[in-house]
Amino acid sequence: MSARYFGAAVTRLEDARLLAGKGQYVDDIELPGMLHAAFVRASFAHGRIRSIDTSDALAMPGVAAIYTMADFEDIAHGPMPPMAPHPLLKTPITYHPLANTEVRHVGEAIAIVLADSRAKAEDAAAAVVLDIEYLPAVSDATLACDANSPRAHSQHTSNIAATMKAGFGDTAAVFAKADHVLTEHFDIHRGGCHSMECRGVVAHIDLLTGALTISTSSQSPYMVRRHLAGYLKRDENDIRVMTPDVGGGFGPKANVYAEEFAVALAVIKCRRPVKWIEDRQEHFVATTQQRGQTWTLDVAFDNDGRMHAIRGRCIHDNGAYAPYGLILPATALASFPGPYALEALDLSLDVVLTNLVPTSPVRGACRPNVAFLLERLADRIARHLGIDRQEVRRRSFVRADQMPYSTGMKARDGSPISYDSGDYVGALNLVLDEIDAANFPARRNEAKQRGKLRGLGIASCVEDTGLGPFEGASVRVTPAGKVVIASGASSQGQGHRTAFAQIAADVLGVELEDVTIETADTAKFPLGISTIASRIAVTAGSSVQLAAHKVRAKAIAFASHQLEVDEHDLELAGGAVHVKGIPDMKIKLSEIARTLSGNTGMPMPGDMEPDLAATAYFNSNALTFAYGANACEVEVDPDTGDIRVVRYVVVHDCGRMINPMIVDGQIRGGVVHGIGNALFERMIHDEEGQPLTTTYGDYLLPMASEMPRIEIHHMETPSPRNPIGVKGAGEGGTIPAAACVISAVEDALGPNGPFIALHPISPQQVVTWLDRN
């Protein structure tokens, strides 16, 4: 079997219909008799609901129904089930589908209004009269730790929902004998998700099957089904969840949301199809946000700049609820020690509730935070000792000859974390070569002539990918000779269809165009987990490969029986099984599929099992570790504080690449997300928890005019931990990017400039720093 497609930068099968405006996103779905939903939402951050008066609103034209939590009492009640229960969270901290007694952040849904148009539903939502008793709110996670702080949940005795620990080695001993110890405080700001398509749900009851049928803009259709079935006490088979085309996910759409439940409950109640489409303002106050944390870290290192140990404490702003359990804070601890070979580590993290929108993983989860911390510390050590930044890294990184390398950390199941493969120093050297670091001083001088401050930044990272337990796939050849792949893995633009087709087409000797994909419809494939954590290439990709091989073996067995040729003398190509060296002695796959579809009254040939099809589940039992080294150059205008990223170079290793074009696309988008975190994206709240940046005029996203080209160089170390040798690539661009940009800005501001331990940074901030010099 020769690889024709695997590894080739083939263009995407997804593109033509999306480009022609023929995509089917959730808001494109119209059902007969469909009602449109709008939510009544909390307008302040903390309050007790005294009463909800819907009478005026109900009388408005076109309004069909208005429901509060109390109206659902006969169907279901109580808080939503937690998506990821954790032993440290004794009681789950999840939303009710609609708030019943207390609202805990601006934007929390209180009532659902159904009308014959969205405009009318919104008008009526504004006419619902709420009597809410004001309760003091807390919007700052550090202040929330104070014993006298208001509580985010009035019934709690503390805002600290859990304290998580991680580490290894004898930290005290390593610190005691270290040549140097430094302590730094870091502040990493929360931002938003901002998939260009907001969330949305269309639900109805299928008249044929009676199933509650839901189309949702989600990364986790199977989780929606599982948790909704649990909540409604129904069999999973009575609920069908599909994801149509999804306009970006980036993590937040992996949550199961209150609105999904509320729409489902409303459909059960009113027996009509209901559509809810989140608008952008709602997205700012009701879709989970990203990774706000503060850290205090001590680092122990020697005179050569070799990093030996880290200890630290984190305050993690979890927002008002923990719908996703402790997954996000857990990724912060699990990302240590990154590429560094440490002797000891001692971390403690407080998960703190505030009256803000909950946080959950966004592209990279807390891995970008940890890359920021470690890379900033490496730069800090270099500055302290007056040595090159890269030397600290070369001396402190895990070496290629140490692979596989046990970091000292433990996985969620208690097994030791071990990096499977990689060359971190090699990646750093390569990126420095590619950006031509040796001649950087000349470029700095040239910029100076133009009145600009130019800086060089570097940052590396290691990324755990391929999170278990599995995604499955089935591969089936139809009597027309087409290959249909079904999988539970939903797609939000990653090009799964193309990548899966590349894998299957090679194994089965068919053309790419002959492969179609059915994903993320719980009626088409029995099980699925979620498209998160850069796991789909590893999990579903491997399953496609395994299933396709089973189909191949079956086709060969069939042909061997029919042609009376030994199986070893057969191969697949051109949509047929043929005798090696004699292309004309063949049986087409379509013919095999047709025969294996059965003929009335005729026995199956060779007593074979019917259907030219197979299903496989690849259990991803050990993580695969992708890694990368980035370098960038920025120019700072000393008068305005304006920061331009003028060059950005990525060296990345995600193992074997199924499609390098898609991998590059993931990396580019990821880097730009990270540049946004470093320089633009600022979700501001006042001390009462009121969001102040809820339009794209106030909340800045990276735009084409501010972005550089992203140059990418690959190293390809195949992972030994799955049959196709891949590692994930969805988040590796984002993880080191903010650290890299900040490193460059700090370098630009010169030796008298500040140690920059926060992001995003603004032009105003830069000017203030320069004035201080």
Binding site: L18, L19, G493
Partner: protein, 159 residues
């Protein structure tokens, strides 16, 4: 509110329709005419996903009322090409991986379509400024920019 009638040209066809005066052009195209290729990403005029071409100029359909298109020539993504016969610009998006989720794509296409008609030989900087009112969260913009530059280069070759 009483509905108004509007007559306009849509993707080359003369059309008449009734419209509620408060309906914006984006909703009108999507929900009254069923042309769901035009997407709404912010509904406050910043993301550019909803861009269509009205009388030759790129317009944010979330900021224009449908009643305002009386007598106008409107072009949407559906008028550019079909899945099996994509326009040069659409094809350049395929070749350069100018889209991932595809949500910003119709707005990008219409912005660039209008731009390239009036600016046949842009620089990379020009293209970046031309789409600086269109947000893409997926691609990092590079494939989109390259697609536009490729189209400009091919057109220049031909003349």
């Amino acid at each position: 509110m009483t509905e108004r009638s509007v007559s306009f040209t849509l993707n080359g066809e003369q059309r008449e329709a009734k419209v509620d005066p408060r309906t914006h052009l984006g909703d009108f195209l999507r929900h009254s005419l069923g042309l769901t290729g035009t997407h709404l990403g912010c509904e406050h005029g910043v993301c550019g996903a909803c861009t269509v071409i009205v009388d030759g100029a790129p317009v944010r359909s979330c900021l224009m009322l449908a009643v305002q298109i009386e007598g106008s020539v409107v072009e949407t993504v559906e008028g550019l090409g079909n899945p099996d016969s994509l326009s040069t610009l659409q094809q350049a998006f395929v070749t350069n991986h100018g889209l991932q989720c595809g949500f910003c794509t119709p707005g990008m296409l219409m912005t660039l379509e209008a731009y390239l008609r009036s600016t046949p030989m842009p620089t990379e900087r020009d293209v970046r400024i031309a789409i600086s009112g269109n947000i893409c969260r997926c691609t990092g913009y590079e494939g989109i920019v390259q697609a536009a530059l490729d189209v400009a280069a091919t057109r220049a070759d031909r003349t």
